[in-house]
Amino acid sequence: MNEANVGTTDQLIVNMGPQHPSTHGVLRVALTLDGERVVSADPDIGYLHSSMEKIAERLDYRQYISYTDRFDYLGAMCNEWVFVRAVERLAGIEVTPRCEHIRLLMAELNRLASHLLYFGAMGIDTGATTVFLYCFRERELILDLFEWVSGQRLLYNFLRVGGLRNDLPDGWVEQCHAAMDALASRVDEYDTLLSENRIFIARTRGIGAITAEEALAYGFSGPCLRGCGVPYDLRRVDGYSLYPELDFEVCVEEGGDCLSRHMVRSRELRESIKIVRQVLARLPEGEVNVPVPRRLKVEPGEVYERIESPRGELGCYLVSDGSDKPWRMHWRAPSFYNLAPLDRLCRGHWMADMVAVIASTDIVLGDVDR
């Protein structure tokens, strides 16, 4: 050891992931630690890359729907919805009111399922395992509804260009009401267990804080951005589908830290339950499908369609050359942008905070890598 090294310590470089229990999939973070302090966190992505966008170029519009389920697998209904909306806009197809209602219903149920999983993951990442199992118990109610209507629990393949795979089965609406009632009473329980727990608040308040300006510069969206005090919710900003007619609140929290992001999702659970109940109450009768040619060719042109997925602004950019396949297709995946400032969020915090930060951005690696 030479003279200059005396009294100094080395930095430790550790590989967090891709097989780490709390990187939410196959994220690898090259972590430089000084003791337990994070000096830098360098996310390395691409382990789940599956050429989603290139594949779209050799499948016709109908065939690609089942692929959209597979990148953000926790928000599959939303992915399908934004894709079919883009195609319908290109082709100039108008769907029936009942179809629109059911699509919105599915998207909100999917948001509930996704936020419940977030709650559980946040719990388990901060060491509270019981919340995780409670959330999964309630998520099961929603997955049962999905299974009943589409035959699938995760990758639904339910939406079609111009309609749906099938109408709601008999008794489904009553079951959905029952599920919402069960869920509404239990959301408070999660808050008691987790959101109001002193240890949890101490673990998340002021951790991974980011200002609204920076968040916008990084392209944050969804609950992460609303946690910074920006009331940006596409359901209100764009007012697509039936959202302008529905009564719900855009949940905004000041602070921009893990706790704010957490509280936004906690409140959105309640808002989504409200939306689902409203839609169920006004669900019109009628057909769900409009006639669409088996081989759908759209006029040349381009379209960018975006909706509010559970993770944020989910965009679908489609370019058509007039054939039955997209000429080019691009996903604006919210997780990708929400993961980008990881280093900025974690630097200077403890290693244990890394886990809370990753959990609070609620990334899905399939969505990041596509």
Partner: protein, 363 residues
Amino acid sequence: MSIHTIGVIIKDWLIGLLAGWGVPVELSRLLIEVLTWAVGAALCIIAIMLAALVFIYLERKVSGYIQSRLGPTRCGPVGILQSFVDVIKLLLKEDIVPAEADRVLHTIGPILFLAVSALAYVVVPWDEGGTVAGKVDAGVGVLFMAAVGSMGLIGIVVGGWGSNNKWSLLGAIRGAAQMVSYEIPMLLALMCVVLQAETLSLAGIVEDQKGSIIAWNFLRPWMWLPVVLFLISGVAEINRTPFDIPEAESELVSGFHTEYTGMKFALFFLAEYGNLLLVALIFSVLFLGGWLSPFGYPDPLRLPGIIWLLAKSLLIVLIVMWVRWTLPRLRVDQLMGLAWKLMIPAGFVALGVMCAVIMLGWA
């Protein structure tokens, strides 16, 4: 008939037998002394093994109950054989030592951890006059337990360092910091009881609480602070949530035992549950009257003292499990802050109050 009298009867019978064979009385006494120690040591290990088997099953059932699921149900009636099956599985697993790991340290880590845990059992007063090594406890049971207890972290550090894994190392360092810190409030709480009983012998501390439940330490108002301090630091000493940062699964993969498989992993596991029982036992001895019956001394129900001791310990274990499955985990700096900024000052306050109580002659 207490354990003690059974022991005496067996000893007398053995001495008689050896005398009948023509062995000098002095030699046979020595032989029997050695034999007592060997049997005692074996009993300690068996106690840990049994505690671990029962507690692992219990933990899974309790957590299942808390989390509204069933827990193990497949092996035997209501899954009661699950722990045994797990042990057999662990025994049959390949023992993997990572490349570049320090083979020697990697092997002695878990052994040391278990050995230290077993050693502390030597001074537990199971029944009236019934420690495994009655004579060692003559005056220094508390001291012995504290000294041995603080050696536990050597096993963790050695295992974590020897694994040649950065996560293990981080876990080991965390473990060392945590166990050293929480030793202090634990000992301060212990000192209050020692002052109360005016003895360093654990058996003596139980004797001091002789009587029905109202004579026990936990009902004396000046003992309430030490009770809380001891329970919290006890949970921290055995690395359980909310203090499980040395093996924090979501942060450090598995902490210091990330690189362990098979029986070496099982040794860590056994020792952890052994420590859980130990803390519960010591807590019962210090504050809940050890082997005493809650209905007065001598016990009107004529139950062996060990039953009462185990019943009290089980209660403590259940509380610790309940806490584990409810609370999130503290962060490493919050954990250290809690120990140094809150619990150690509180420990000194408790000790001061205890001294005042003694000087005023209320004890």
